[in-house]
């Protein structure tokens, strides 16, 4: 078991290196410059000139610590332009060669090993801090949604399986299939349009009503809950289908097993057969699946958070991506990759834990 875990961990490290290398190379080729996008509006309406922007680039490059950090990973080409670099290097222009990519990645990786993912341009803090500060909001929303999703989908799946080909089975199947087929952003917009704009039951965006003074923490929590109803509902409705159908398939498989026939033959009540014999075995893949998705909940739901304007990590990453905040985008993507590697590992280990028949001795 220990040997297996060590082997899997080593493999995971290999995967993370592979993923981060691919993302690094792509991001280095990304044509966005944070300062250009940030001051694009001012440039367009004439309050700033290109020289001002270049000045900003140069200044921030020299003065602000985070930019110097960023440069050490080879981000410099993006944070600053040739002009600023020329000012720093005494007229020499840095040229992006293959070697500079390799060197940049090596630098980035070395720092990442020490827990330093660089500093975000946009959020003016280290990437690690931004992720740490924002992932809990995303996790909080996602965990509530996941609990609801499991609480609704499993009973539905079990009932649909025990009443296979009944009207209930058909209706639930069609409904959850519609849920699977809905694009997240469309459904979220539909919810906003109906429940926020038409009916006015829920606020349009954000976590708290802006400018409202709360008398107590409880009042504030209530306000937050009120804001989170629609996002959570969206997440639950869209994800119920997959789990419900997974449960149904597994339950059907178990119900066809010989030991279920034996249980029926020895005269167990239908209730006992289903809930004591069949259901518990259905839970094996479901629990494994839960272990697999759990780490991913920290990664945030980019589209849902974007539509509902929630300050979660997914929304932050989206903003960073649009504006060209290179270090944050890089850090976030690697964070996601680590979460997904960890999820797979956890789900495999969970399988061995909940299913006594499985022996890991490879």
């Amino acid at each position: 078991m220990v040997k297996y875990i060590i082997k899997r961990l080593l493999l995971s490290i290999l995967i993370v290196i592979g993923v981060s290398l691919i993302i690094y190379l792509l991001i280095r080729m990304m044509p966005l410059n944070y300062f250009d996008t940030k001051y694009a509006a001012q440039l367009a309406n004439g309050t700033m000139t290109q020289a001002d922007v270049d000045n900003f680039k140069r200044l921030s490059h020299v003065l602000v610590e985070y930019n110097v950090y960023a440069d050490r990973y080879g981000w410099g080409h993006y944070a600053t332009n040739e002009l600023a670099e020329a000012a720093l290097t005494g007229g020499q222009k840095t040229i992006c060669t293959f070697l500079s990519y390799v060197e940049g990645y090596a630098n980035w990786f070395w720092e990442a090993l020490h827990g330093n993912l660089g500093s975000s341009f946009k959020f003016q803090d280290t990437v690690v801090n931004v992720i740490k500060d924002n992932m809990w909001v995303s996790f909080g929303i996602a965990i509530v949604a996941t609990v609801l999703q499991f609480a609704i989908a499993i009973p539905l799946g079990v009932t649909a399986a025990t009443h296979q080909y009944s009207a209930f089975d058909y209706v639930v199947t069609v409904l959850v299939m519609m849920g699977i087929s809905l694009p997240t952003f469309f459904f979220a917009l539909l919810m906003l349009s109906i429940f926020s704009q038409r009916l006015g039951w829920f606020p349009l965006s954000g976590m708290n009503s802006p400018g409202k003074i709360f008398n107590s923490d409880f009042e504030m929590a209530l306000d937050t809950l009120h804001h989170l109803v629609l996002p959570v509902l969206t997440l639950v409705i869209l994800s119920i289908g997959g789990l419900m159908r997974y449960t149904r398939t597994n339950m059907l498989e178990v119900l066809n097993a010989d030991y279920i026939r034996t249980a029926r033959a020895k005269g167990c009540s239908e209730r006992t057969v289903i809930y004591r014999h069949a259901f518990r075995n259905t839970l094996i893949p479901v629990v494994t699946m839960l272990a697999g998705i759990l780490p991913g909940l920290f990664g945030g739901a980019m589209i849902t958070e974007q539509v509902f304007g929630l300050p979660g990590i997914g929304n932050k990453a989206y903003q960073a991506l649009i504006e060209g905040d290179i270090p944050f985008v890089m850090g976030y993507n690697v964070f996601l990759a680590i979460l997904s590697v960890f999820g797979t590992l956890l789900s495999d280990l969970m399988y061995a834990v909940v299913d006594p028949r499985v022996k890991i001795n490879k």
């Binding site: 993370v16 993923v19 044509p31 080909y165 087929s181 349009s193 990759a337 997904s340």
Partner: protein
Amino acid sequence: MEEEKILTPELAEENLKKEAAEEESLADSVRIISPGRLVMKRFFRSRLSMVGLVTLIVLFLFAFVGPLFSPYEESEADSKAPDFINETYAPGTSAEIVDPSDVFEGGVIGGTVLSGVTYNNSNGHGSYVKDGNTVYFKLDENRLVVTDEKYSTIYYDYFEYSWNQPSFNKYGAPDSKHWLGTDDLGLDVFTRLMYGGRVSLTLGFVVVILETLLGILFGGLAGYFGKWVDQLIMRIVDIFGCIPTMPLLLILSEMLNGAGVVGTAKLYYIMAFLTLLGWAGIARVVRGQILYLREQEYMIAAEALGLSTSRKIIKHLVPNVMPQLIVQMTLGLGSIILTESTLSYLNLGLDRMNATWGTMISAAQDPLVLSSYPWVWIPAGVMIVLAVLGFNFIGDGLRDAFDPKASR
């Protein structure tokens, strides 16, 4: 007198024939149906698959044949009669020109009172006659100002400025002319729905076929050869499996925007990216299946017959993987349509002028559209749901039909 039935030779022959026919029909009813026909039969018996199939056929006709009957083009704005705008500017002010070429080419400057407008488009100098006097004007950073006759000193004298402002039927509500209304540029929503379907549906098919080919290639190699080939390919598959798809697609789209790729060329790039990010899952399925099939007796027989490797893979292994793959492909079609529409929604897909369902929904990011003009964005969403639902129903039906354990 009753005629007795006598067993004449003719009658006996007839009886024999009858029996033979009966036997034949009996053989018919228990005739062994080929697996392919069995799958077809099961598939067509399932009601949901039929619903999905019909939905998709209708959608395909709508997208590919529909535009032939539409009176509008994909990016043809529905113009109303231009508004004639006549404004007088007090001394000290200047008029902002909407579009200089619009204004001067028709010689409408000055409106009714004026005559003899001359305008030089290259240097922005012009003049007109007003009440017998010639008024000189020039275009100064898109503002119309009155000058002296040498176009140097600026007099902020009063002047009139009138033009034919092109006007479009913006956010027109659904009526008999525009069945689903018009959008912010006065484009017919119904027509754009059809064109949008072309993009989404074709893109899905191309991507799924390409990624299946890649998946079969790599999965087949890994599963058949095993050892280090398997190790190498599967580690690559692991890496691709862990790449966060959506953020990466966003990065790639930004790269396309930055590289100045426009129009349909962008579509091909997006197809390539989706393929690159999607083949890993299929390779994993193919590999698993081939690992299992490799140990079957018929493969040992194939080995004993001395068949070549490529023949063993192409003729004996791949066809047996196909049922699983077809299901996977159909379900994949739905998810690709969803991914593409999400990209378009974030304005990182195709340009505005090439209609896609996702781009049409992205109009609803404007709260005004979200609340007041539902016809601009809701139909596109319904189309996406219908298409994805259709593919999911068919994929589900196929899975049940292919399942050898299924009882119905």
